[in-house]
Amino acid sequence: MSIEVKDLSFRYGKIVALDGVSTRLGEGAVGLLGPNGAGKSTLLRILLGFLVPERGEGKVLGYDIRRQQAMIRRSVGYMPESDCFIAGMDAVTFTAYFGELSGMPRQEAMKRAHEVLFYVGLGESRYRLLDTYSAGMKQRLKLAQALVHDPKILFLDEPTSNLDPTGRMEVLELIRDISSNKSIQVLLSSHILDDIEALCESVVILKHGRVAAEGRMADLRALDYALYELRVKGEAGAFRKDLEGLGARVDETEDGLIKVYMPEAGDRMDIFRAAARTGVQVRAFVKSRTSLEDLFAGVVGVD
Protein backbone atom coordinates (compact mmCIF):
# COMPACT_ATOMS: atom_id res chain seq x y z
CA MET A 1 0.00 0.00 0.00
CA SER A 2 1.43 3.38 -0.94
CA ILE A 3 -0.72 5.42 1.43
CA GLU A 4 -1.95 4.17 4.75
CA VAL A 5 -3.60 6.20 7.50
CA LYS A 6 -5.02 5.05 10.80
CA ASP A 7 -7.40 6.95 13.06
CA LEU A 8 -6.41 10.38 11.71
CA SER A 9 -8.11 13.28 13.43
CA PHE A 10 -7.72 16.99 12.95
CA ARG A 11 -9.70 20.07 13.91
CA TYR A 12 -9.55 23.76 12.98
CA GLY A 13 -10.35 25.31 16.33
CA LYS A 14 -13.71 23.84 17.26
CA ILE A 15 -14.48 22.58 13.77
CA VAL A 16 -13.73 18.90 13.30
CA ALA A 17 -12.16 18.40 9.87
CA LEU A 18 -11.12 14.77 10.18
CA ASP A 19 -12.52 12.36 12.73
CA GLY A 20 -10.77 9.02 12.97
CA VAL A 21 -10.06 8.46 9.29
CA SER A 22 -8.48 5.10 8.51
CA THR A 23 -7.84 3.94 4.98
CA ARG A 24 -5.33 2.16 2.76
CA LEU A 25 -4.81 3.35 -0.78
CA GLY A 26 -3.19 1.14 -3.38
CA GLU A 27 -1.87 1.62 -6.91
CA GLY A 28 -3.48 3.52 -9.77
CA ALA A 29 -5.77 6.51 -9.58
CA VAL A 30 -7.68 6.92 -6.34
CA GLY A 31 -10.45 9.44 -5.93
CA LEU A 32 -11.01 11.36 -2.74
CA LEU A 33 -14.61 12.38 -2.93
CA GLY A 34 -16.86 14.37 -0.69
CA PRO A 35 -18.87 17.55 -0.47
CA ASN A 36 -17.17 20.83 0.40
CA GLY A 37 -15.91 20.70 3.97
CA ALA A 38 -15.77 16.90 4.08
CA GLY A 39 -12.04 16.95 4.88
CA LYS A 40 -10.50 16.05 1.52
CA SER A 41 -8.01 18.91 1.32
CA THR A 42 -7.21 18.54 5.03
CA LEU A 43 -6.34 14.90 4.47
CA LEU A 44 -4.03 15.80 1.57
CA ARG A 45 -2.38 18.50 3.68
CA ILE A 46 -1.82 16.11 6.54
CA LEU A 47 -0.30 13.56 4.17
CA LEU A 48 2.08 16.27 2.93
CA GLY A 49 2.95 17.33 6.46
CA PHE A 50 1.39 20.82 6.15
CA LEU A 51 -0.82 20.04 9.12
CA VAL A 52 -0.02 17.89 12.12
CA PRO A 53 -2.84 15.52 13.06
CA GLU A 54 -4.19 15.65 16.59
CA ARG A 55 -4.40 11.91 16.71
CA GLY A 56 -3.58 8.95 14.54
CA GLU A 57 -0.74 7.94 12.29
CA GLY A 58 -0.02 7.46 8.64
CA LYS A 59 2.53 6.51 6.04
CA VAL A 60 3.09 7.62 2.47
CA LEU A 61 5.31 5.26 0.47
CA GLY A 62 6.45 3.84 3.79
CA TYR A 63 7.50 7.25 5.18
CA ASP A 64 5.94 8.41 8.43
CA ILE A 65 3.77 11.52 8.00
CA ARG A 66 4.90 12.96 11.33
CA ARG A 67 8.63 12.34 11.17
CA GLN A 68 9.67 11.90 7.53
CA GLN A 69 7.92 14.79 5.82
CA ALA A 70 10.94 15.77 3.73
CA MET A 71 11.13 12.26 2.24
CA ILE A 72 7.42 12.33 1.49
CA ARG A 73 7.64 15.72 -0.22
CA ARG A 74 10.55 14.51 -2.30
CA SER A 75 8.42 11.66 -3.65
CA VAL A 76 5.12 13.49 -4.00
CA GLY A 77 3.98 16.05 -6.54
CA TYR A 78 1.31 18.41 -5.20
CA MET A 79 -1.09 20.40 -7.31
CA PRO A 80 -3.01 22.72 -4.98
CA GLU A 81 -6.56 23.84 -5.53
CA SER A 82 -5.99 27.59 -5.52
CA ASP A 83 -4.12 29.53 -8.18
CA CYS A 84 -0.50 29.87 -7.24
CA PHE A 85 2.48 31.26 -9.09
CA ILE A 86 5.38 33.65 -8.65
CA ALA A 87 4.93 37.07 -10.18
CA GLY A 88 7.58 38.22 -12.64
CA MET A 89 8.60 34.70 -13.66
CA ASP A 90 8.07 32.83 -16.89
CA ALA A 91 6.79 29.27 -16.91
CA VAL A 92 10.08 27.58 -17.63
CA THR A 93 11.92 29.44 -14.85
CA PHE A 94 9.05 28.75 -12.47
CA THR A 95 8.92 25.04 -13.21
CA ALA A 96 12.70 24.64 -13.11
CA TYR A 97 12.80 26.60 -9.84
CA PHE A 98 10.49 24.15 -8.10
CA GLY A 99 12.37 21.24 -9.64
CA GLU A 100 15.54 22.62 -8.11
CA LEU A 101 13.85 23.12 -4.75
CA SER A 102 12.82 19.46 -4.91
CA GLY A 103 16.49 18.53 -5.13
CA MET A 104 17.17 18.39 -8.87
CA PRO A 105 20.48 19.75 -10.15
CA ARG A 106 19.94 23.17 -11.76
CA GLN A 107 20.72 22.18 -15.36
CA GLU A 108 18.62 19.04 -15.09
CA ALA A 109 15.73 20.98 -13.62
CA MET A 110 15.79 23.42 -16.51
CA LYS A 111 15.91 20.66 -19.10
CA ARG A 112 13.14 18.78 -17.37
CA ALA A 113 11.01 21.94 -17.08
CA HIS A 114 10.99 22.27 -20.87
CA GLU A 115 9.92 18.64 -21.27
CA VAL A 116 7.15 18.85 -18.71
CA LEU A 117 5.80 22.12 -20.08
CA PHE A 118 5.59 20.61 -23.54
CA TYR A 119 3.84 17.62 -22.02
CA VAL A 120 1.12 19.71 -20.37
CA GLY A 121 0.64 21.78 -23.50
CA LEU A 122 2.41 24.97 -22.47
CA GLY A 123 5.41 24.50 -24.74
CA GLU A 124 4.63 27.49 -26.92
CA SER A 125 3.99 29.82 -24.00
CA ARG A 126 6.77 28.70 -21.72
CA TYR A 127 8.64 32.02 -21.95
CA ARG A 128 5.56 34.13 -21.27
CA LEU A 129 5.23 35.88 -17.92
CA LEU A 130 2.94 33.94 -15.59
CA ASP A 131 1.06 37.13 -14.74
CA THR A 132 -0.41 37.00 -18.25
CA TYR A 133 -1.56 33.36 -18.09
CA SER A 134 -5.25 32.42 -18.29
CA ALA A 135 -6.94 30.29 -15.62
CA GLY A 136 -6.58 27.17 -17.76
CA MET A 137 -2.90 27.80 -18.38
CA LYS A 138 -2.28 28.33 -14.67
CA GLN A 139 -3.97 25.00 -14.00
CA ARG A 140 -1.64 23.25 -16.45
CA LEU A 141 1.31 25.08 -14.95
CA LYS A 142 0.42 23.76 -11.49
CA LEU A 143 0.39 20.27 -12.95
CA ALA A 144 3.77 20.90 -14.59
CA GLN A 145 5.42 22.00 -11.34
CA ALA A 146 3.94 18.94 -9.62
CA LEU A 147 5.42 16.66 -12.29
CA VAL A 148 8.80 18.29 -12.76
CA HIS A 149 10.71 16.11 -10.28
CA ASP A 150 9.04 12.94 -11.59
CA PRO A 151 7.16 12.07 -8.40
CA LYS A 152 5.95 8.61 -7.49
CA ILE A 153 2.59 9.96 -6.33
CA LEU A 154 0.62 12.97 -7.48
CA PHE A 155 -1.75 14.71 -5.07
CA LEU A 156 -4.24 16.66 -7.16
CA ASP A 157 -6.59 18.95 -5.29
CA GLU A 158 -9.60 19.88 -7.45
CA PRO A 159 -7.53 19.84 -10.66
CA THR A 160 -10.39 20.86 -12.94
CA SER A 161 -11.75 23.77 -10.95
CA ASN A 162 -12.05 27.08 -12.87
CA LEU A 163 -11.71 25.34 -16.23
CA ASP A 164 -13.94 25.62 -19.27
CA PRO A 165 -15.29 22.30 -20.68
CA THR A 166 -12.50 21.98 -23.26
CA GLY A 167 -9.79 22.79 -20.75
CA ARG A 168 -11.33 20.35 -18.29
CA MET A 169 -11.34 17.53 -20.84
CA GLU A 170 -7.69 18.23 -21.69
CA VAL A 171 -6.57 18.23 -18.07
CA LEU A 172 -8.54 15.04 -17.41
CA GLU A 173 -6.88 13.47 -20.44
CA LEU A 174 -3.47 14.39 -19.05
CA ILE A 175 -4.26 12.95 -15.64
CA ARG A 176 -5.60 9.76 -17.21
CA ASP A 177 -2.44 9.46 -19.27
CA ILE A 178 -0.23 10.00 -16.23
CA SER A 179 -2.06 7.52 -14.02
CA SER A 180 -2.53 4.81 -16.63
CA ASN A 181 0.63 4.96 -18.70
CA LYS A 182 3.32 6.60 -16.64
CA SER A 183 3.31 4.48 -13.50
CA ILE A 184 2.64 7.47 -11.30
CA GLN A 185 0.00 6.96 -8.67
CA VAL A 186 -2.64 9.67 -8.55
CA LEU A 187 -4.66 10.74 -5.53
CA LEU A 188 -7.37 12.98 -6.89
CA SER A 189 -9.44 15.08 -4.53
CA SER A 190 -12.60 16.46 -6.05
CA HIS A 191 -16.23 17.14 -5.45
CA ILE A 192 -16.93 16.70 -9.17
CA LEU A 193 -18.27 13.18 -9.50
CA ASP A 194 -17.72 12.97 -13.25
CA ASP A 195 -14.01 13.64 -12.83
CA ILE A 196 -13.60 10.85 -10.30
CA GLU A 197 -15.77 8.49 -12.31
CA ALA A 198 -13.78 9.20 -15.46
CA LEU A 199 -10.35 8.71 -13.92
CA CYS A 200 -10.33 6.61 -10.80
CA GLU A 201 -10.33 2.89 -10.21
CA SER A 202 -11.09 3.24 -6.55
CA VAL A 203 -12.56 5.90 -4.36
CA VAL A 204 -12.71 7.05 -0.75
CA ILE A 205 -15.83 9.03 0.09
CA LEU A 206 -15.55 11.40 3.02
CA LYS A 207 -18.45 12.85 4.91
CA HIS A 208 -18.08 15.20 7.89
CA GLY A 209 -14.46 14.14 8.29
CA ARG A 210 -15.21 10.42 8.35
CA VAL A 211 -14.86 7.73 5.72
CA ALA A 212 -18.40 7.11 4.47
CA ALA A 213 -17.46 4.51 1.86
CA GLU A 214 -14.32 3.21 0.18
CA GLY A 215 -13.21 0.59 -2.24
CA ARG A 216 -13.01 -0.21 -5.92
CA MET A 217 -15.52 1.69 -7.98
CA ALA A 218 -17.11 -1.41 -9.42
CA ASP A 219 -17.48 -3.02 -5.99
CA LEU A 220 -18.91 0.10 -4.43
CA ARG A 221 -21.57 0.45 -7.06
CA ALA A 222 -22.87 -2.99 -6.15
CA LEU A 223 -22.38 -2.52 -2.45
CA ASP A 224 -24.98 -2.35 0.26
CA TYR A 225 -28.02 -1.36 -1.70
CA ALA A 226 -29.95 -1.76 -4.93
CA LEU A 227 -31.26 1.25 -6.77
CA TYR A 228 -34.77 1.32 -8.21
CA GLU A 229 -36.27 4.17 -10.15
CA LEU A 230 -40.06 4.46 -10.25
CA ARG A 231 -42.95 6.76 -10.97
CA VAL A 232 -46.16 6.61 -8.98
CA LYS A 233 -49.62 8.06 -9.09
CA GLY A 234 -51.16 9.07 -5.80
CA GLU A 235 -49.93 10.46 -2.50
CA ALA A 236 -46.18 9.85 -2.65
CA GLY A 237 -45.49 11.27 0.83
CA ALA A 238 -46.94 8.35 2.77
CA PHE A 239 -45.38 5.92 0.31
CA ARG A 240 -41.94 7.44 0.89
CA LYS A 241 -42.36 7.31 4.66
CA ASP A 242 -43.36 3.68 4.45
CA LEU A 243 -40.27 2.85 2.41
CA GLU A 244 -38.01 4.78 4.75
CA GLY A 245 -39.53 2.78 7.57
CA LEU A 246 -38.16 -0.29 5.82
CA GLY A 247 -34.64 1.16 5.93
CA ALA A 248 -34.57 2.42 2.34
CA ARG A 249 -33.35 5.84 1.32
CA VAL A 250 -35.78 7.65 -0.98
CA ASP A 251 -35.03 10.66 -3.16
CA GLU A 252 -37.37 12.40 -5.55
CA THR A 253 -36.17 14.41 -8.54
CA GLU A 254 -37.87 17.57 -9.78
CA ASP A 255 -39.67 15.69 -12.56
CA GLY A 256 -41.24 13.25 -10.12
CA LEU A 257 -38.82 10.34 -10.56
CA ILE A 258 -38.48 8.47 -7.27
CA LYS A 259 -35.14 6.80 -6.54
CA VAL A 260 -35.28 4.08 -3.94
CA TYR A 261 -32.00 2.83 -2.46
CA MET A 262 -33.02 -0.51 -0.99
CA PRO A 263 -30.78 -2.11 1.63
CA GLU A 264 -28.98 -5.24 0.51
CA ALA A 265 -31.23 -7.37 2.68
CA GLY A 266 -34.36 -5.75 1.28
CA ASP A 267 -36.67 -7.28 -1.27
CA ARG A 268 -37.93 -5.41 -4.35
CA MET A 269 -41.40 -6.71 -3.58
CA ASP A 270 -41.33 -4.58 -0.43
CA ILE A 271 -41.68 -1.55 -2.70
CA PHE A 272 -44.88 -2.91 -4.23
CA ARG A 273 -46.19 -3.92 -0.81
CA ALA A 274 -45.56 -0.41 0.45
CA ALA A 275 -47.36 1.00 -2.57
CA ALA A 276 -50.34 -1.23 -1.87
CA ARG A 277 -50.38 -0.25 1.80
CA THR A 278 -50.32 3.48 1.04
CA GLY A 279 -52.67 3.30 -1.92
CA VAL A 280 -50.40 4.53 -4.72
CA GLN A 281 -50.13 3.07 -8.19
CA VAL A 282 -46.69 2.19 -9.48
CA ARG A 283 -46.65 3.42 -13.09
CA ALA A 284 -43.01 2.75 -13.93
CA PHE A 285 -40.39 0.57 -12.26
CA VAL A 286 -36.78 0.09 -13.34
CA LYS A 287 -33.83 -1.48 -11.55
CA SER A 288 -31.13 1.03 -12.26
CA ARG A 289 -27.38 0.66 -12.59
CA THR A 290 -25.88 2.67 -9.78
CA SER A 291 -23.58 5.47 -10.87
CA LEU A 292 -21.06 7.16 -8.64
CA GLU A 293 -23.61 9.91 -8.25
CA ASP A 294 -26.07 7.43 -6.80
CA LEU A 295 -23.43 5.99 -4.55
CA PHE A 296 -22.50 9.48 -3.45
CA ALA A 297 -26.12 10.39 -2.82
CA GLY A 298 -26.60 7.11 -0.97
CA VAL A 299 -23.74 7.52 1.44
CA VAL A 300 -23.41 11.28 1.71
CA GLY A 301 -27.04 12.16 1.52
CA VAL A 302 -27.03 14.81 -1.17
CA ASP A 303 -28.44 14.47 -4.65
Binding site: A70, R74, S102, Y119, G121, S125
Partner: protein, 290 residues
Amino acid sequence: MATVREKGYSHWDGRLEERRFPWWPITRTGILLAFRKKRFKFLFAGAFFPAIVALVGLYVSERLEDFKAFIQGSDRLLNIGPQYFAGYFLNDWLLFMILLVLAYGAGGLIADDLKHNSLQLYFSRPLSKKDYLVGKMSVVAFFVLIFTAVPGLILIIFKLIFAGSFKFFLQYPWLPLSVLGYSALLTAFFGFYILLMSALSKNSRYVFVLTFGTYIFSTVLYGILNGIFRTPYMALFSIPANIQQAKAFIFGLKLPHGFPAVWSFAVLTGICALSAFVLGRKTRSVEVIK
Protein backbone atom coordinates in the same frame (compact mmCIF):
# COMPACT_ATOMS: atom_id res chain seq x y z
CA MET B 1 -2.44 26.96 -26.57
CA ALA B 2 -0.55 23.94 -27.79
CA THR B 3 -2.15 20.53 -27.76
CA VAL B 4 -1.66 18.17 -24.89
CA ARG B 5 1.34 15.83 -24.96
CA GLU B 6 2.81 17.18 -28.16
CA LYS B 7 6.19 15.93 -27.03
CA GLY B 8 5.26 13.17 -24.58
CA TYR B 9 6.10 12.50 -20.97
CA SER B 10 9.13 10.58 -19.95
CA HIS B 11 10.43 9.66 -16.54
CA TRP B 12 13.48 11.49 -15.22
CA ASP B 13 16.35 9.13 -14.62
CA GLY B 14 18.35 11.37 -12.30
CA ARG B 15 18.51 11.29 -8.53
CA LEU B 16 17.17 13.99 -6.23
CA GLU B 17 19.93 15.46 -4.09
CA GLU B 18 19.81 16.42 -0.46
CA ARG B 19 21.27 19.91 -0.60
CA ARG B 20 23.57 21.38 1.99
CA PHE B 21 21.95 24.77 1.49
CA PRO B 22 18.41 24.05 0.31
CA TRP B 23 17.61 27.77 0.57
CA TRP B 24 20.15 28.83 -2.04
CA PRO B 25 17.77 28.64 -5.08
CA ILE B 26 15.36 30.91 -3.17
CA THR B 27 18.11 33.48 -2.59
CA ARG B 28 19.41 33.37 -6.14
CA THR B 29 15.92 33.68 -7.60
CA GLY B 30 14.98 36.49 -5.21
CA ILE B 31 18.03 38.53 -6.30
CA LEU B 32 17.37 37.88 -10.00
CA LEU B 33 13.70 38.83 -9.66
CA ALA B 34 14.67 42.10 -7.97
CA PHE B 35 16.88 43.03 -10.91
CA ARG B 36 14.02 42.27 -13.32
CA LYS B 37 11.96 45.05 -11.79
CA LYS B 38 11.71 48.29 -13.71
CA ARG B 39 14.14 50.99 -12.57
CA PHE B 40 15.68 48.72 -9.94
CA LYS B 41 19.06 48.80 -11.66
CA PHE B 42 19.11 52.60 -11.42
CA LEU B 43 18.35 52.46 -7.70
CA PHE B 44 20.99 49.79 -7.22
CA ALA B 45 23.60 51.84 -9.05
CA GLY B 46 22.54 55.00 -7.16
CA ALA B 47 23.21 53.30 -3.84
CA PHE B 48 26.91 53.06 -4.75
CA PHE B 49 27.19 56.83 -5.06
CA PRO B 50 28.36 57.35 -1.43
CA ALA B 51 30.99 54.64 -1.89
CA ILE B 52 32.31 56.38 -5.01
CA VAL B 53 32.41 59.73 -3.23
CA ALA B 54 34.20 58.13 -0.27
CA LEU B 55 36.70 56.52 -2.64
CA VAL B 56 37.38 59.86 -4.31
CA GLY B 57 37.83 61.36 -0.82
CA LEU B 58 40.40 58.69 0.02
CA TYR B 59 42.30 59.37 -3.16
CA VAL B 60 42.25 63.12 -2.61
CA SER B 61 43.41 62.68 1.01
CA GLU B 62 46.55 60.96 -0.22
CA ARG B 63 47.17 63.53 -2.98
CA LEU B 64 46.49 66.73 -1.05
CA GLU B 65 49.30 68.55 -2.84
CA ASP B 66 47.76 67.81 -6.23
CA PHE B 67 44.27 68.95 -5.19
CA LYS B 68 45.18 71.98 -3.09
CA ALA B 69 43.44 74.35 -5.54
CA PHE B 70 40.15 72.43 -5.24
CA ILE B 71 39.89 71.76 -1.52
CA GLN B 72 41.07 75.23 -0.40
CA GLY B 73 41.90 74.66 3.24
CA SER B 74 39.14 72.10 4.00
CA ASP B 75 41.70 69.33 4.25
CA ARG B 76 40.49 68.61 7.75
CA LEU B 77 37.44 67.03 6.12
CA LEU B 78 39.74 64.52 4.53
CA ASN B 79 41.38 63.46 7.75
CA ILE B 80 40.97 59.70 7.28
CA GLY B 81 40.22 57.65 10.40
CA PRO B 82 37.40 55.63 11.94
CA GLN B 83 35.23 58.75 11.85
CA TYR B 84 35.61 58.90 8.07
CA PHE B 85 34.45 55.28 7.66
CA ALA B 86 31.67 55.69 10.18
CA GLY B 87 30.65 58.78 8.25
CA TYR B 88 30.40 56.69 5.09
CA PHE B 89 28.19 54.14 6.81
CA LEU B 90 25.82 56.60 8.34
CA ASN B 91 25.49 59.24 5.71
CA ASP B 92 21.79 59.84 5.09
CA TRP B 93 22.05 59.04 1.39
CA LEU B 94 23.42 55.54 1.98
CA LEU B 95 20.82 54.55 4.60
CA PHE B 96 18.06 56.07 2.48
CA MET B 97 19.26 54.19 -0.62
CA ILE B 98 19.61 50.90 1.27
CA LEU B 99 16.07 51.30 2.55
CA LEU B 100 14.82 52.28 -0.91
CA VAL B 101 16.54 49.35 -2.61
CA LEU B 102 15.23 46.93 0.01
CA ALA B 103 11.70 48.30 0.10
CA TYR B 104 11.46 48.25 -3.70
CA GLY B 105 13.50 45.16 -4.52
CA ALA B 106 12.83 42.95 -1.50
CA GLY B 107 9.50 44.23 -0.18
CA GLY B 108 7.61 41.60 -2.14
CA LEU B 109 9.73 38.68 -0.95
CA ILE B 110 6.99 37.29 1.27
CA ALA B 111 4.12 39.60 0.29
CA ASP B 112 4.09 38.27 -3.28
CA ASP B 113 4.14 34.68 -2.06
CA LEU B 114 1.19 35.42 0.21
CA LYS B 115 -0.65 37.22 -2.58
CA HIS B 116 -0.16 34.45 -5.13
CA ASN B 117 -0.57 31.52 -2.68
CA SER B 118 2.86 30.16 -3.51
CA LEU B 119 3.86 29.28 0.06
CA GLN B 120 2.13 25.92 -0.33
CA LEU B 121 4.28 25.22 -3.40
CA TYR B 122 7.45 25.94 -1.42
CA PHE B 123 6.38 23.79 1.51
CA SER B 124 5.30 20.90 -0.72
CA ARG B 125 9.04 20.61 -1.44
CA PRO B 126 11.56 19.23 1.04
CA LEU B 127 11.99 22.69 2.55
CA SER B 128 11.48 23.72 6.15
CA LYS B 129 10.13 27.07 7.30
CA LYS B 130 13.66 27.90 8.38
CA ASP B 131 15.04 27.16 4.90
CA TYR B 132 12.39 29.39 3.35
CA LEU B 133 13.06 32.30 5.70
CA VAL B 134 16.84 31.95 5.47
CA GLY B 135 16.53 31.96 1.68
CA LYS B 136 14.46 35.13 1.73
CA MET B 137 16.62 36.80 4.37
CA SER B 138 19.74 36.07 2.35
CA VAL B 139 18.30 38.21 -0.45
CA VAL B 140 18.13 41.14 1.98
CA ALA B 141 21.59 40.25 3.31
CA PHE B 142 23.00 40.33 -0.23
CA PHE B 143 21.75 43.86 -0.85
CA VAL B 144 22.77 45.19 2.58
CA LEU B 145 26.24 43.65 2.48
CA ILE B 146 26.92 44.81 -1.05
CA PHE B 147 26.33 48.41 0.07
CA THR B 148 28.09 48.14 3.44
CA ALA B 149 30.67 45.41 4.03
CA VAL B 150 31.89 45.17 0.44
CA PRO B 151 32.48 48.92 -0.14
CA GLY B 152 33.71 49.31 3.46
CA LEU B 153 36.43 46.70 3.05
CA ILE B 154 37.27 47.89 -0.46
CA LEU B 155 37.67 51.44 0.87
CA ILE B 156 40.13 50.20 3.51
CA ILE B 157 42.08 48.30 0.85
CA PHE B 158 42.14 51.36 -1.42
CA LYS B 159 43.26 53.55 1.49
CA LEU B 160 46.24 51.22 1.93
CA ILE B 161 46.92 51.17 -1.82
CA PHE B 162 46.71 54.96 -2.14
CA ALA B 163 48.87 55.45 0.95
CA GLY B 164 51.35 52.84 -0.24
CA SER B 165 51.91 51.63 3.34
CA PHE B 166 50.26 49.65 6.15
CA LYS B 167 50.56 52.55 8.58
CA PHE B 168 46.82 53.21 8.55
CA PHE B 169 46.03 49.55 9.19
CA LEU B 170 48.51 49.36 12.07
CA GLN B 171 47.03 52.54 13.50
CA TYR B 172 43.46 51.19 13.42
CA PRO B 173 43.76 47.39 13.24
CA TRP B 174 40.21 46.91 14.52
CA LEU B 175 38.66 48.99 11.73
CA PRO B 176 37.94 46.05 9.33
CA LEU B 177 36.24 44.25 12.23
CA SER B 178 34.16 47.35 12.95
CA VAL B 179 33.15 47.51 9.29
CA LEU B 180 32.16 43.85 9.34
CA GLY B 181 30.43 44.14 12.72
CA TYR B 182 28.38 47.15 11.71
CA SER B 183 27.52 45.54 8.35
CA ALA B 184 26.40 42.40 10.21
CA LEU B 185 24.24 44.51 12.53
CA LEU B 186 22.58 46.29 9.59
CA THR B 187 22.13 42.98 7.76
CA ALA B 188 20.48 41.30 10.72
CA PHE B 189 18.27 44.28 11.49
CA PHE B 190 17.17 45.01 7.94
CA GLY B 191 16.79 41.28 7.24
CA PHE B 192 14.18 40.94 9.98
CA TYR B 193 12.68 44.40 9.46
CA ILE B 194 12.08 44.04 5.71
CA LEU B 195 10.73 40.48 6.01
CA LEU B 196 8.45 41.58 8.84
CA MET B 197 7.03 44.38 6.69
CA SER B 198 6.77 42.01 3.74
CA ALA B 199 4.81 39.50 5.80
CA LEU B 200 2.32 42.08 7.03
CA SER B 201 0.65 42.68 3.68
CA LYS B 202 -0.10 40.82 0.47
CA ASN B 203 0.50 43.95 -1.57
CA SER B 204 4.13 44.90 -2.18
CA ARG B 205 3.16 48.56 -2.68
CA TYR B 206 1.70 48.66 0.81
CA VAL B 207 4.88 46.99 2.03
CA PHE B 208 6.90 49.77 0.41
CA VAL B 209 4.82 52.44 2.16
CA LEU B 210 4.85 50.51 5.44
CA THR B 211 8.63 50.09 5.35
CA PHE B 212 9.30 53.79 4.83
CA GLY B 213 6.35 54.88 6.96
CA THR B 214 7.46 52.94 10.04
CA TYR B 215 11.06 54.07 9.64
CA ILE B 216 10.15 57.74 9.30
CA PHE B 217 7.32 57.64 11.85
CA SER B 218 9.72 56.29 14.48
CA THR B 219 11.90 59.37 14.03
CA VAL B 220 8.92 61.73 14.10
CA LEU B 221 7.71 60.03 17.27
CA TYR B 222 11.15 60.52 18.80
CA GLY B 223 11.02 64.23 17.93
CA ILE B 224 7.58 64.66 19.50
CA LEU B 225 8.35 62.69 22.66
CA ASN B 226 11.70 64.41 23.06
CA GLY B 227 9.92 67.76 22.80
CA ILE B 228 7.53 66.74 25.57
CA PHE B 229 9.74 64.81 27.98
CA ARG B 230 13.17 66.32 27.20
CA THR B 231 15.04 63.10 27.85
CA PRO B 232 17.58 61.42 25.52
CA TYR B 233 15.95 58.05 26.20
CA MET B 234 13.16 59.04 23.81
CA ALA B 235 15.67 58.32 21.02
CA LEU B 236 15.00 54.65 21.75
CA PHE B 237 11.74 55.08 19.81
CA SER B 238 13.64 56.03 16.65
CA ILE B 239 15.02 53.31 14.39
CA PRO B 240 17.70 55.55 12.79
CA ALA B 241 18.71 56.91 16.22
CA ASN B 242 19.24 53.40 17.55
CA ILE B 243 21.28 52.48 14.48
CA GLN B 244 23.38 55.66 14.99
CA GLN B 245 23.97 54.78 18.61
CA ALA B 246 24.99 51.21 17.75
CA LYS B 247 27.26 52.42 14.97
CA ALA B 248 29.03 54.89 17.23
CA PHE B 249 29.62 52.12 19.77
CA ILE B 250 30.96 49.68 17.15
CA PHE B 251 33.36 52.29 15.66
CA GLY B 252 34.48 53.42 19.11
CA LEU B 253 33.14 56.97 18.62
CA LYS B 254 31.36 59.30 21.05
CA LEU B 255 27.77 58.17 21.49
CA PRO B 256 25.33 60.66 19.87
CA HIS B 257 22.60 60.08 22.48
CA GLY B 258 23.03 60.30 26.22
CA PHE B 259 22.30 56.72 27.23
CA PRO B 260 24.28 53.45 27.10
CA ALA B 261 24.50 51.80 23.66
CA VAL B 262 23.25 48.54 25.16
CA TRP B 263 19.74 50.02 25.23
CA SER B 264 19.84 50.59 21.48
CA PHE B 265 21.12 47.08 20.90
CA ALA B 266 18.26 45.81 23.07
CA VAL B 267 15.67 47.76 21.05
CA LEU B 268 17.08 46.53 17.72
CA THR B 269 17.21 42.95 19.07
CA GLY B 270 13.63 43.34 20.30
CA ILE B 271 12.47 44.37 16.83
CA CYS B 272 14.27 41.36 15.36
CA ALA B 273 12.68 39.03 17.94
CA LEU B 274 9.22 40.46 17.25
CA SER B 275 9.83 40.00 13.52
CA ALA B 276 10.91 36.39 14.01
CA PHE B 277 7.73 35.71 15.98
CA VAL B 278 5.47 37.30 13.35
CA LEU B 279 7.31 35.57 10.51
CA GLY B 280 6.85 32.24 12.24
CA ARG B 281 3.11 32.88 12.42
CA LYS B 282 2.67 34.28 8.93
CA THR B 283 4.69 31.83 6.87
CA ARG B 284 2.52 28.76 6.83
CA SER B 285 1.88 26.27 4.09
CA VAL B 286 -1.82 26.41 4.88
CA GLU B 287 -3.78 29.49 5.81
CA VAL B 288 -5.90 28.24 8.66
CA ILE B 289 -9.16 30.17 9.06
CA LYS B 290 -10.73 29.29 12.38
